[in-house]
Symmetry: C2
């Protein structure tokens, strides 16, 4: 008989949690008993898994000794509340919230730094990075041998869905109001997001950086093993429901060989390179897919050491739930 693993998913009613459950099913992950957990507000609802409705239970009442592996797909506060308890009960855990420090739970994207896993021991503690850092790591990793990275510039246009279902409804509602020439009443956002671009996602710190921007920089540096890599990051909110897009400029110490860059991207795992002249979009290409799309591969204007790229990625799937499951797949032989 095939061996299976009893697992728990915390935050099972959220967008990422639900997608993660769906991906476990799609990829035939050897799940024994699946425990779906959430806060007291969301407990009691159910989520579909292998044709059955699985009841979501309250995380606070859960006995972590029942499972071997826990996915934390809720926010940082939830991870900070329960990670220690899960770990003490002998569970391995994969956290998607960014709450745990890198020395406790290193960020891992299999396409970028799978070697980190070899240095860990069960029960494992691994972080699955932010959707932005995940997409960037997938694409920058195969370029490391070609480009002596000096500086990475990223403007990330993030999907509304990363902010949850209320945000998604608000974009739809605002859009309908505007198209019907009704007065706009922002609720979830503090201003018009429909047919507009917001310059920041979340509240900036005293220096002007948002948590998402700092997380992107910190996680990317760790995964690329370049702790002092210069990275400028701006995360903006586009009126897009699903899928992130990234305008990326890399500075290399040397002239960039575009032919080799294209070949490396063509060969790399987890990447779909679109034809020169064309470009991928979040909605048309990335959403629902398991790869990061890359296009607009080009040098600088009169600057041979510059490389420009355009990436799109499904922020919920490749950027979060799928990456966490891919990490779990790599750990599974040590957990069964």
């Amino acid at each position: 008989m095939t061996q299976t693993l009893d697992i728990a998913v915390i935050g099972a009613t959220g967008t990422v949690g639900e997608t993660l459950v769906q991906i476990l099913e799609e990829r035939d992950f050897p799940v024994g008993t699946l425990h779906l957990l959430a806060s007291s507000e969301s407990a009691g609802s159910s989520v579909s898994y292998r044709g059955k409705n699985v009841r979501v239970r309250e995380v606070d009442e859960f006995d972590f000794a029942k499972v071997k592996l826990v996915f934390f797909t809720a926010g940082p506060a939830v991870t900070l509340s329960y990670a220690a308890r899960a770990h003490a009960a002998g569970c391995s855990l994969i956290d998607l919230s960014g709450a745990l420090p890198a020395d406790q739970a290193p960020q891992v994207v299999p396409e970028a730094n799978v070697e980190v896993l070899a240095g860990l021991k069960a029960p494992f503690q691994v972080s699955s990075p932010s959707p932005s850092a995940t997409a960037l790591a997938v694409v920058l990793a195969p370029l490391r041998e070609l480009i002596e990275l000096q500086y990475v510039h990223v403007t990330a246009s993030l999907a509304i869905s990363a902010q949850g279902r209320e945000a998604v409804s608000e974009l739809a509602r605002q859009t309908a109001e505007l198209l019907n020439l009704r007065p706009l009443e922002p609720k979830f956002f503090d201003r018009q997001v429909a047919f507009n671009v917001l310059a920041q996602v979340g509240t900036p710190d005293a220096l002007g950086h948002t948590l998402l921007e700092k997380r992107l920089v910190r996680e990317l540096r760790q995964m690329l093993a370049q702790p002092s890599l210069k990275i400028s990051a701006t995360c903006i909110q586009a009126p897009v429901f699903f899928g992130d897009s990234f305008s990326v400029t890399l500075q290399s110490a040397n002239a960039v060989d575009l032919e080799k860059v294209n070949a490396a991207l063509e060969d790399a795992e987890g990447i779909e390179l679109v034809e020169a002249g064309d470009y991928p979009t979040a909605v048309g290409d990335a959403v629902g897919q398991d790869v990061v799309y890359v296009g607009r591969v080009r040098g600088g204007i009169d600057e041979p050491s510059e490389l420009n790229l355009w990436l799109t990625s499904d922020n919920v799937r490749k950027g979060a739930a799928l990456n966490a499951v891919q990490v779990a797949e790599l750990l599974i032989k040590d957990l069964l």
Copy 2:
């Protein structure tokens, strides 16, 4: 009696042309006779000016000897067809199409390089740069004394309106179709632009750069008088009707003094600096305004020589029509 100037506006039925006529009226530009011109397709319609409907006539039949000043607000092909004829007839001309070389008609943004005008002689030939270069020049010019600019990185999220009325209708139509769950049928664009971000505006050249990106780099270098300034530029299409947004990262040779930067932006002409923590948006701030809005002024994450900015600007008004009229205002004493 006040002196007036007979002028012509070519492309008078376009978005920029119409706005330019409106701005001439708003700013009480001393217009004698106003000749509105367009291609044969648009000739015959009329545009409102000072409470009257002015008939739009065919440019091909126009006698340029009738006017002293011509605004070229149509595309490069129209400028290339008629600029020589207008110049030979003794007209000064302000071209917004980017068709004329800098040594013939230098790019001028009064806030950035007004001194260029002093070196010209009537009949004048001046270019009003692309909306992106205009917005960037307004903001970078007052920083030149504080920052030893080494590299400028720009991701410009451009409004649909820059592509004309058909593009505006298409975004509205696509959006309504999606909200009503009807099948999407792209026409003007080759794919879904509603709730999506397109990675390029226009067709890229063999090296992957679009005309708008090359124009931005060329015009900005000329206006900042730094012909070899490194500039990475990516122009993307957001589902926004009006107003451009710019994510900008500057690299300086030295550490950036943020306090001085804020003070310089606060004092500069043509700029509205929003409070720290807040940020401007295209729709909420820039559209319909005569200034470029600046926010998110911040250094780098662990990088003191980096400066990040977020700009928004009305692409039709401040980015095009208003700048052309501002240039005309500076030339007028030599034209009357």
